[in-house]
Amino acid sequence: MRRITLWALSTVTVLLLLLSYHTSTSSRTSLGAESSEVAQGAPDDVGGSSSGGSSSGGSSSGGSSSTATGDVTQTRWGPVQVEITVADGEVTAVDVLQQPDGNGRDQQINAYAIPVLKQETLSAQSADVDMVSGATVTSDGYVQSLQSALDKAGL
C-alpha cells in the first residue's frame, strides 16, 4: 500500500522534474544577439515545491500579466492541462493543473518529456538548445540552417 503510494509519488515527481527541466537553464543570460527574447525566469514554477524559489513572479517592470488555461491534452501518460501566465509578451509561468497519475510509463517519462511549447517563436540562442529538429535539411540547404549555426558555434 505504502509502496504503491511512494511509486505513484515518484512517478509524479519524475514528470514534474521533466516539465521543469528548463527551469534551471532558462534564466541564464543569452549569449546571442537577441537577448531581449530570453524569457526571464520563463516557465518556472512547475511543481514549485521541487524547484525552490526560482520564480520571480512575473513582476517585470510596467507589464500587465494574464493567464490562459490550455485545453486538456491527452498524452501517452494521461491527460495534461497547463495554465500559462504571460507578462509583456513573455511566458513567465506554467502551472500544471492536471497531470497523469502514473500508469507504468515512468521509464518513457524519464527518457524524454512532453515538448514545451513557446508562446512566441524563439531563436536557438535564447531557447538554449543543443540541436534542432526540422523538416529534412539537405546538404544543399544546410548552410542556411539553424543546425549549421549551432554546429559552427561548437567548432
Binding site: L17, Y21, Y112, L117, S123, V129, M131, T136, A153
Partner: protein
C-alpha cells in the same frame, strides 16, 4: 534507465552550463546528401575514442547508403526496382528494412508506404523513409562504448540522443517553426530517445501521399519523440500524410509524444 538516473533539480541547477563554451564537441559530415551532425559531451567528448566512434558511425551510414540509395544505380534497391536482382540475393538488411516498411504501411493504413505512384503509372520503390531512421539508430550504437559521454547524432534534423554523463542535464532539442525557418516553436528535453520532424520546409516537395501521389497540405509539420528513430520518423511521415487525422492517429501510438503544427501555425501537443 532507472529512476536513479533522474537528475535532481539541485544537481541540474548546480551543473555548469555546457553550452557552446564548455564541453559540447561538435562535428559535421555530409552523407546520403544530408548533413550529419554530432554533439558529444562528457568524458569522451573529444579524443581518439570519440574520433574512432565517429568514423564507425559514418561508415555505417555510408554502408546503408550504398545498399539503399535510390540515387545510385548500383545500389541493391535500384537493382531490385529494375528487377535486376532478386530479393533473395540481397543482403539480409534489405529484407529487414522492407519488413519494417510493410509493418509501417499496415499500422498507418497505407499513409506510409515505400511504394508510391510514379510517372507513367509505374510504382516507385523508395525505402528512404525507413532507411534514414534505421541507419541512424544503427550508427548511434557506435557511441555505446563511450562511457560517461552524452551523444546526440542528427541526420538532417532527425536525431538519436543518449545521456550517460554523470549529472547531465540531458539534451535540449529545439523544434523549428515551419512557418518561420530559423526560429523555434517548442523545446523537447530528451535524455534517451529520438526526435523526428516531417514537413515541407526544406524538402523540395519530396513528401507525397503514397495513396494519391499528391503533396499533403493540411499540416505544416509533425514532430514525434519516441524510443527509436526509425519509428519516430515513420510516425512523423505517416502523420504528416494523414493531415486532419494526424492527432487522432498519433494518440493511438504507444510511447510517443510530440507536436503537430497545422497549416495555420497552431501547435497541438500529443
Amino acid at each position: 534507465m532507472t529512476t536513479a538516473d533522474v537528475v535532481h533539480p539541485a544537481v541540474t541547477a548546480a551543473a555548469a552550463h555546457p553550452g557552446h563554451a564548455g564541453g559540447t564537441a561538435r562535428r559535421v559530415e555530409h552523407v546520403m546528401g544530408m548533413p550529419i551532425s554530432l554533439a558529444l559531451r562528457g568524458r569522451h567528448a573529444q579524443g581518439p575514442r570519440a574520433d574512432a566512434a565517429w568514423a564507425a558511425a559514418l561508415a555505417e551510414l555510408r554502408r546503408a547508403d550504398a545498399i539503399f540509395s535510390t540515387y545510385r544505380a548500383d545500389s541493391w534497391v535500384s537493382r531490385l526496382a529494375r528487377a535486376d536482382a532478386r530479393l533473395g540475393d540481397a543482403p539480409p538488411v534489405v529484407t529487414e528494412v522492407l519488413a519494417i516498411a510493410e509493418e509501417a504501411r499496415r499500422q498507418s493504413d497505407g499513409a506510409f508506404d515505400v511504394r508510391r505512384p510514379g510517372p507513367w503509372r509505374r510504382t516507385v520503390l523508395d525505402p528512404s523513409g525507413v532507411v534514414k531512421g534505421w541507419a541512424v539508430d544503427r550508427a548511434a550504437r557506435a557511441f555505446d562504448d563511450l562511457e560517461g559521454t552524452d551523444v546526440c547524432l542528427s541526420a538532417g534534423g532527425d536525431m538519436v540522443c543518449r545521456t550517460r554523463a554523470v549529472g547531465s542535464r540531458g539534451w535540449r532539442i529545439g523544434v523549428e517553426a515551419p512557418h518561420h525557418p530559423g526560429r523555434l516553436v517548442a523545446v523537447v528535453p530528451v535524455r534517451d530517445g529520438a526526435v523526428a520532424t516531417s514537413g515541407l520546409a526544406h524538402r523540395r516537395g519530396h513528401l507525397v501521399d503514397p495513396r494519391t501521389g499528391l503533396v499533403p497540405t493540411a499540416l505544416a509539420s509533425v514532430t514525434v519523440v519516441g524510443p527509436d528513430l526509425v519509428w519516430a520518423d515513420i510516425d512523423a511521415t505517416a502523420a504528416f500524410v494523414l493531415g486532419a487525422d494526424a492527432l487522432r492517429w498519433l494518440r493511438t501510438r504507444c510511447c510517443r509524444t510530440g507536436l503537430v503544427v497545422d497549416r495555420d501555425g497552431r501547435s497541438h501537443l500529443f
